[in-house]
Amino acid sequence: MNLTLKIWRQKDANAKGGIQTYQLGGVDPDMSFLEMLDVLNQELIEKGDEPVVFDHDCREGICGTCSLQINGEPHGPDRGITTCQLHMRMFKDGDTITIEPFRAAAFPVIKDLVVDRTSFERIQQAGGYISVNTSGNTQDANSIPVAKDKADAAFYAATCIGCGACVAACKNASAMLFTSAKVSQMALLPQGEVEATRRVLAMVEQMDKEGFGNCTNTGACEIECPKGISLENIARMNREYLKASVK
């Protein structure tokens, strides 16, 4: 496959970036998207050019490190996958592919396609945990019965890998799908219920502080989420927050 790649290049956080066009030949349809970028970078290095910087780690869709807005969609045109699981067979020979970093005020660009997503971590740190005494007499988690439907819903919420595709897809750069998944995975379980009030208030407050937008229920996040995190979680967060606010 021969491709035209339009890639966002930006020297550093303060530089003014821009789109640069590259021609890339010999792309195998069975390559993953990141392997295709590896090939491009190899060519750039051999030519003595600066390679394109992009985030990646596990390359099997579970770590949430890879990102990229590909042809106007986070993680590209395929559904239910991360960029590392996107294959070049989703594209045609001769295609032009536009590759940009995820865009949000709370996700500033560090270099080229890499953005700083520590705002997500600060939301987590604000309350996305349960306080457990780990001094040696920790109770076995299974000794507290959990209803099957609650356990399943909590588990689905917990599959969020925090990649930021929800923010990237949202026209308002809202982080409510992420935050609601992190609120839900705790709020649904008896262990998490204890701190539910404080948690949801603190996490939403941090989310607002980071400068994410507001949810207008377009549903784009749910469609683009590689893990299929449901809008039900946002509704649950809305309920939890309303309850916590009037307490």
Partner: protein, 237 residues
């Protein structure tokens, strides 16, 4: 924290948007029920509508409701503007390529534009009727109530507006355009309101969605029929 949370947080803005929006949906139902009386013909139609108008302008409970309605519209608009400004700020640098049509509906992404069209319509609509009733002269449109009191004849004012040989059809088309905007606004807004208030469960999600679609089609359609009915069908006065 709890107190400021219900006023200032992002979620609070959503609650207010949803709450005022859903209240305005109720208002639409009430307003439509009253307006449908304009489809009546014959000798009693004028009396019936004017007695209804008299009740709506003099009853203290209706007065309270109308103040709440105006406040809701105002709140919905201001909240909407604040949310839009915040949301723009959340993405200062846009995408070169952005394809929202692949993952969301047009109406859900254009609530602000639709809302602006609706607001413009509300102003026009208020000038047409509310302003005339409140501040307009009594020329040729006096209605004598059952108790012998002379009030403005809203029925004649309405029918004459839409039967005007030059402007009648123009008004009807303007009203139709506004109702199309309301239809799209409701198509997203109705279900969105419930979601924002946390009302979401697989048991009744489908019911809310279907009710929302039916509401978004039927209510604006019924409103839009009235001006055309008056222009084309109702006997000329």
């Amino acid at each position: 924290m709890a107190k400021s949370a219900l006023l200032k947080s992002s979620l609070a803005k959503k609650y207010w948007m949803a709450f005022t929006g859903l209240f305005l949906c109720l208002f639409l139902v009430g307003h439509l029920a009253g307006n449908l009386q304009l489809l009546a013909s014959g000798a009693g139609a004028r009396d019936q509508f004017n007695e209804y108008a008299l009740f709506m302008t003099t009853n203290p409970a209706v007065r309270v409701l109308s103040i709440v309605t105006f406040a809701s519209i105002l709140f919905h608009v201001i909240d909407g503007i604040i949310l839009t400004v915040n949301n723009r700020k959340a993405r200062p640098q846009g995408y070169v390529s952005f394809k929202p049509a692949t993952n969301s509906k047009w109406s859900s992404r254009n609530m602000g534009i639709l809302g602006t069209v609706i607001l413009a319509f509300i102003v026009i609509h208020l000038i047409n009727f509310w302003g005339e009733m409140k501040f307009g002269g009594l020329d040729n449109t006096v209605y004598t109530t059952a108790s012998g009191e002379e009030v403005k004849d809203l029925y004649t004012l309405t029918v004459k507006t839409f039967q005007d040989p030059e402007m009648g059809l123009v008004w009807a088309v303007i009203y139709l355009v506004a109702m199309i905007a309301i239809a799209f606004h409701l198509y997203h807004g109705f279900g969105s309101g419930f979601q924002s208030l946390g009302v979401n469960h697989p048991k009744y999600n489908n019911f809310i969605r279907k009710t929302g679609v039916a509401f978004a089609i039927l209510v604006p359609l019924a409103f839009a029929i009235i001006p055309f009915y008056i222009y084309f069908v109702l006997e000329k006065i």
